[in-house]
Amino acid sequence: MDILTWGRNPWDQPVLTHISWNLLWAALFAGLAFLVAHASYMIFSAHRKRHAAETDAMEIARADLPDRIVRHSLPARLFHWLMAAAMFTLLITAFLPVVGLRFPWVTWHWIAGLTLTGSILFHIIHATVWLDFWSIWVGPRDLPELRAELLRDLGHDVPGPRPGKYPLGNRLYHLAIVVVALVAVVTGLCMMVRIRTPFFTRNPYLFSDTTWGVTYVDHGLAGVTLVGLVIAHVYFAARPEKWWITKAMILGWITRRQYLEHHDPDRWAVRQLPTPNSATPNSTTPNSGLASPTL
């Protein structure tokens, strides 16, 4: 199986041109294989969840918390969905032609690419200024949590730390996406110099043949990796036990019970807001009795 494709430039030097599209099939296969493997594991395994009684007890203890806890602000959610739309457009425009559904894709692709770039810039600023920037990152201090999560996955009942705002899996995923999407964005922006856009005069000779080759290959590698990552992401978002997280990305909030069951209140402290009318458990108006955690 070829992984990269080569050509010979006018000086008869070998230059990289693209990744081989075999890799697309490999990424699709890997994504789906992971999905099947994980789904079968979840069906047959003894994954340890917090006992209902435990959570009941915590809920009584923390009755001071409102019953809805803001997880994602409106701008954060808008960013997320805008980015998702851009990402899907990029994937579709890049790969449908490869699998045989042909259409003039390049213009749509770079427009989606700029949308993605814009929304990422917005996200970085937003997260730095308004959110707890470090809440999404992983570092050595997460090792105990990793150990606890793995043990729970293996069916052990361990006390270990619970996540803050973002479960460890989320944070690892975010890290992967940051690296890969940044590669796609940076290379993609460079590649815009090769095509006709309204912004500047094309200059295909901006970089050397070798550099361009590497740029195209990196862009392609990032692209196919994103296929795998997006499959995994969509899969997790659709899993029943993770559905509460997905819902929060739509509606913005989670329930007090979900907050207590899945998070470590010390690592993701909810800032108590003075609520004029205390919420009732069956409240239907989403905005009543909302508490804003430190985001």
Binding site: T5, G7, R8, N9, P10, V15, T17, H18, P97, R102, F103, P104, W105, V106, R194, I195, R196, T201, R202, N203, P204, Y205, D209, W212, G213, Y216
Partner: protein, 339 residues
């Protein structure tokens, strides 16, 4: 690419006598197979060592691909019919004279004696960077050498470029589009697919490495000329540097019916300006129902070149195309050349 004057590298040669047998060989060799018709495009690639097929499948022994037949009040031209046979055919002369003119304008007499109409519409781009074997987009690479700040691109596209700026070189193509010809394709699976000439050609936005919709393993078997435009008023003009051998810088083909001095129906196509021959639908729409005069021709011609984006050395193609469209609509005598 330096011209090499020894024998080509070795390949297997097959001379099947049926389309099925030909496709069996194509299937067996996959990407290593090459379809050979008259060879006037093919042999350049092989001699220059830019394409090195393992197996060449010569269609010359397949009787069903040859000759011109009557069909549904129109004509069916086998893909392996030579351009000279097309030019000499009385049915073509009487009803589809524009195809005669277009075929007669191609290449040189000896080439027309051997080049097939199927090969003529399926021939590859003549961009010399591509032909030299450089790794451009069309060759599977990631650059268009003809669309760089210092590129020599006098022959290249002014319309419809999408990364690649090569143009379609076929002279018969615009005439076939104007006649609403139907291209009969035998797909790799053995099924028959009929596409209109207009849809037979693809631009780089859709597929940057191919000129036509032919998938690997598929064969063009025949070209059908329906009755629709038989005997209409035709116009064909090809502008080139030398009157022999040279490909069109711009060519125009049109068919129209008039009632009195009003244009009733018109079809018009150009080639040499984009990676595929372009049917000018907007021009047809404005011209239909208008008088056939200078004013209509000017409006139509200006519309035709709307959106043209010339490269470093081919801006001349814009007025050239405008004038050709004007002449096609107004007629030669009255249409003044403008630049």
């Amino acid at each position: 690419m330096a011209v090499i004057r020894d024998v080509m590298p070795a390949f297997e040669l097959f001379q099947p006598t049926s389309v099925e047998a030909a496709q069996a060989v194509l299937d067996r060799y996959g990407a290593g197979a090459w379809v050979l018709a008259g060879g006037l495009d093919s042999l350049d690639w092989l001699k220059d060592r830019i394409r090195r097929p393992q197996a060449v499948v010569d269609l010359g022994a397949i009787a069903e691909l040859k000759g011109i037949r009557e069909r549904d009040g129109g004509l069916e031209i086998g893909a392996m019919t030579t351009l000279t046979e097309v030019v000499r055919h009385p049915g073509v002369r009487e009803r589809y004279a524009i195809l005669l003119e277009a075929a007669e304008a191609a290449a040189s007499p000896q080439i027309r004696n051997q080049a097939t109409i199927g090969g003529n519409v399926s021939q590859d781009a003549r961009c010399w960077y591509y032909r030299a074997g450089w790794p451009c987009y069309r060759a599977g690479g990631n650059i268009c050498y003809a669309d760089t700040p210092d590129a020599i691109n006098r022959e290249h596209a002014i319309l419809g470029a999408d990364r690649c700026v090569a143009v379609n070189p076929s002279d018969t193509a615009p005439a076939l589009i104007v006649l609403d010809a139907q291209m009969v394709i035998r797909t790799a699976g053995g099924g028959e697919r009929v596409v209109s000439a207009e849809d037979y050609f693809v631009g780089p936005g859709i597929d940057i490495t191919r000129m036509t919709v032919l998938e690997p393993g598929a064969l063009l078997t025949a070209i059908r000329l329906p009755r629709t435009w038989a005997g209409a008023q035709f116009y064909f003009e090809k502008i080139r540097d030398r009157q022999v051998w040279d490909f069109a810088l711009v060519s125009v083909a049109s068919a129209m019916t008039t009632s009195g001095s009003t244009i009733e129906r018109i079809r018009i196509a150009v080639n040499g300006v984009a990676a595929r021959p372009l049917r000018l639908r907007a021009v047809e729409a404005v011209a239909e129902g208008r008088p056939r005069n200078e004013a209509t021709a000017v409006v139509a011609a200006n519309l035709a070149v709307e959106g043209a984006q010339p490269l470093g050395f081919n801006a001349y193609k814009v007025p050239l195309m405008r004038n050709l469209v004007k002449r096609a609509i107004r007629g030669v005598e009255a249409a003044a050349w403008t630049s």
